[in-house]
């Protein structure tokens, strides 16, 4: 089961957003197949530093598939070959001796490059700020048990809420659309009674923020679902579209006018 392999890495290196970037090739010898992909990069980085060369910058934090910090397009696919998992959950046992692996950052206009494989996804925050929440202040809540939510609704809301905001959907989409990301939040809250009062303005505002941040339009390519580490279904995009049309028909309600942009 356990063994070691030799691999060749072609990694995108770019000092910062203003500099030009390009691929560099590294040989990684004797990589233990028990290692995770990021641990393999750790080892490559140790090696580079020992040779006095700058280590490869890449984002990570939890290393267990939940924070959404790790990114990477591996051999042309966001989060690697398997789908349904994040880069940090990919293991080297997935590879064979002498494999050549290409590693690139998540590329999208709305995800500016920071360095090497690191990009910024603050544009996701701006979409959330436009309405990805229930407007309840601390202390206003009634007892939790007054609200009954059918199990299937709670479960389905949870399916959508599982989004980790990693941005793989954007990186995979030919239009760099973030519709799956927006859909996950809209769908979660549209299915819950708590989301009811702001239902129309939420979807209108979030979609406006999506477009403003420079994400593209959805043309039903379904690439997003294929790479989503949390298996969030494109059916949520269908719900988003319905919510959007419904809100257009009904109007945002008077709240929006009262609170300006928010």
């Amino acid at each position: 089961m356990t063994g070691t392999i030799d691999i060749t890495l072609k990694v995108w290196r770019q000092k910062d957003a203003a500099s030009a970037g390009g691929f560099e090739t590294y040989e990684a010898k004797g990589v233990s197949t028990e290692m995770s992909f990021l641990e393999m990069l750790d080892v490559v980085n140790e090696d580079l530093q020992k040779k006095g060369r700058d280590p490869i910058a890449f984002d990570h934090d939890c290393r267990e598939g939940i924070c959404g910090m790790c990114s990477l397009v591996i051999d042309g696919r966001a989060h690697g070959p398997d789908g349904g998992q994040t880069t940090c959950q990919l293991h080297m046992r997935r590879y064979k001796n002498n494999d050549v692996i290409t590693v690139e950052p998540f590329r999208a206009k709305a995800f500016p490059l920071v360095r090497d494989l690191v990009v910024d996804r603050c544009s996701f925050d701006s979409i959330m700020q436009a309405g990805g929440y229930v407007s309840v202040s601390t202390g206003q809540a009634p007892d939790a048990s007054v609200l009954l939510i059918p199990k299937h609704k709670a479960d389905s809301a949870m399916d959508a809420a599982a989004c980790i905001g990693c941005g793989a959907c954007v990186a995979a989409c030919p239009n760099a659309s973030a519709m799956l990301f927006v859909a996950a939040k809209v769908s979660q809250l549209a299915q819950l009674p708590q989301g009811g009062p702001e239902r129309e303005r939420r979807v209108l505002n979030m979609m406006a923020a999506h477009d403003e941040a420079g994400f593209g339009a959805c043309s039903n390519e379904y690439e997003c679902e294929a790479v989503c580490p949390k298996d969030i279904s494109v059916s949520h995009i269908a719900r988003l579209n319905r919510e959007y049309l419904r809100a257009l028909a009904l109007g945002p309600g008077e709240h929006q006018a009262a609170s300006g942009a928010g």
């Binding site: 089961m1 910062d16 233990s32 028990e34 290692m35 995770s36 641990e39 750790d42 530093q49 020992k50 700058d54 280590p55 984002d59 934090d61 939890c62 290393r63 267990e64 939940i66 924070c67 959404g68 910090m69 998992q85 959950q89 293991h91 920071v114 360095r115 910024d120 603050c122 996701f124 925050d125 959330m128 436009a130 929440y133 229930v134 309840v136 202040s137 601390t138 202390g139 206003q140 809540a141 009634p142 939790a144 048990s145 609200l147 009954l148 939510i149 059918p150 199990k151 709670a154 809301a157 949870m158 809420a161 599982a162 905001g165 979660q188 809250l189 819950l192 708590q194 989301g195 942009a261």
Partner: protein, 637 residues
Amino acid sequence: MTLDAKIPSGPIEKKWDKHRFDLKLVNPANKRKYDVLVVGTGLAGASAAASLAELGYNVTALCIQDSPRRAHSIAAQGGINAAKNYPNDGDSVWRLFYDTVKGGDYRAREANVYRLAQVSVNIIDQCVAQGVPFARDYGGYLDNRSFGGAQVSRTFYARGQTGQQLLLGAYGALSRQVEKGKVRLLARREMLDLVVVNGKARGVIARNLVDGKIERYAAHAVLLCTGGYGNVFFLSTNAANSNVTATWRAHRRGAYFANPCYTQIHPTCIPVAGENQSKLTLMSESLRNDGRVWVPKKKGDTRAPNDIPDAERDYYLERRYPSFGNLVPRDVASRAAKKACDEGFGVGPTKLAVYLDFRDALKRVGAETIKEKYGNLLDMYHHITNEDPYKVPMRIYPAVHYTMGGLWVDYNLMSTVPGLFVLGEANFSDHGANRLGASALMQGLADGYFVIPSTLGGYLAAGGIEAVGTDAAEFSEAEAAVNARVSKLLAVKGKRTTLEFHRDLGRLVWDHCGMGRTEAGLKKLLTAIPELRERFYKEVCVLGGGMEFNQALERAGRVADYLEFAELLALDALERRESCGGHFREEYQTPENEARRDDENFAHVAAWEFKGDGKAPARHVEPLSFENVHLTQRSYK
């Protein structure tokens, strides 16, 4: 300086209400005149920043990640406690209070714990109102599960992603305030120093991680919500960016560090597999609701687990602790696993593992139900180990997980530096020497949603906080100190990487200050750490410059601080000559190998004062008095 915990007088059930009434209030129109800095956006930081902004304060929030939603709290799996008593199984605020004090091995402050239990019920209300999709039953009501150290089901959960859902709730509240212009959000910023002016915390120095610029931020109060220091052990279940720098730097500026030796080793983690392992993955304690822990009765048994018949299995937790069984508290379960392995009963390739077996639960309730409850955890295990836990028992071993120690705070969550408040895992307050499962999320949100909004107002309304801008001399001094540290790291130009030093440090601390601690081991550690630190400043290699995105530099700064902090951890462990909770001094144990406390000499909080580099820190004591819970030898038999 005497440590005044400012515990309100009166009966314990009335203290918090009375205190809130006694605290001065900031007039609503005046709140916008106050600036508050919140460092860290985990549950404690995000909930505090949102709640304070809702009240009208001007909040600036800093986070290391590119989005506040990625803070370490996101990884919490199992659940959050609250004394709702929805299952009608005898829970109450009093019982949650009692369980927490007992679970902490009688080393927590009663008044704080009582308040925590009181507000726990409001937390669930708040989170449900935000749309957090907690698990529900067919009637539409909220579902509960059990966690260790409790005989009631009081844990609320959202599959195995409770931390994620709670954090996204708090992040939503925070985002709403960003949109309203009440919170200024600064991503990819790392706080590197605290600025103290005329004895009060008045700001921080942070590094912009994208371009390397050193920035100054001034405020009327500073909230550290920067989490725990588990990564001092190198391998832990904590996220890579979790670090001690913020609290350590505040400590050096005057904040006392309390009980650093109280570290929690979680019993159910995926065992270490190889040399280059970068982190350990937790398998939530909730799995112990349905999974049974065992080892073979025969030493060195190499049969596949499924080939070992029941009669030849030792379900040692059920055997030793019949009334709590697999749900004994973490410290007890971890030590029991270590004992089994030390005695030669360990399993798997390294023999440093025990089984956590779902076979019986799968038979009893079926795979569908197990999948629904723990699906993502079992999948995670499968991903990492390449073994299917629906078919073969999981292998688990204890790993560093949580730190009960932290900056000392009074009842108001204020440290020994006026104006510096510390929330969540970063403070020492509520868990004593051992934290019960599902209580960290509760504490972080209690601090942020319900405690700080009242107590911060009390501090600000008391007045005496003069206007201070970032041009004050203290800001220049702190900025110069940060720059000097950065330059020092870059100047070494040695041959060893920071990772190698971190790994060395982790091994030392794990070996001598991990699950078992001895006087001799700790003394060894206290000479080894300064030696390693000296080598670090001679041999470390940090490439690149300060004015650029430089992860090697970030990491080096954090490890440099761990190399200082670890010494305090070891010293505290040495000075606490008793065993309690997660602090197990092998010299002090009962004949049954349980922790033996010494209430006569150690029923106190140890709070350390920084006295300068190369000088011994001073140990101060806050005596703990127990008026409501009777001190006994903990028993889970």
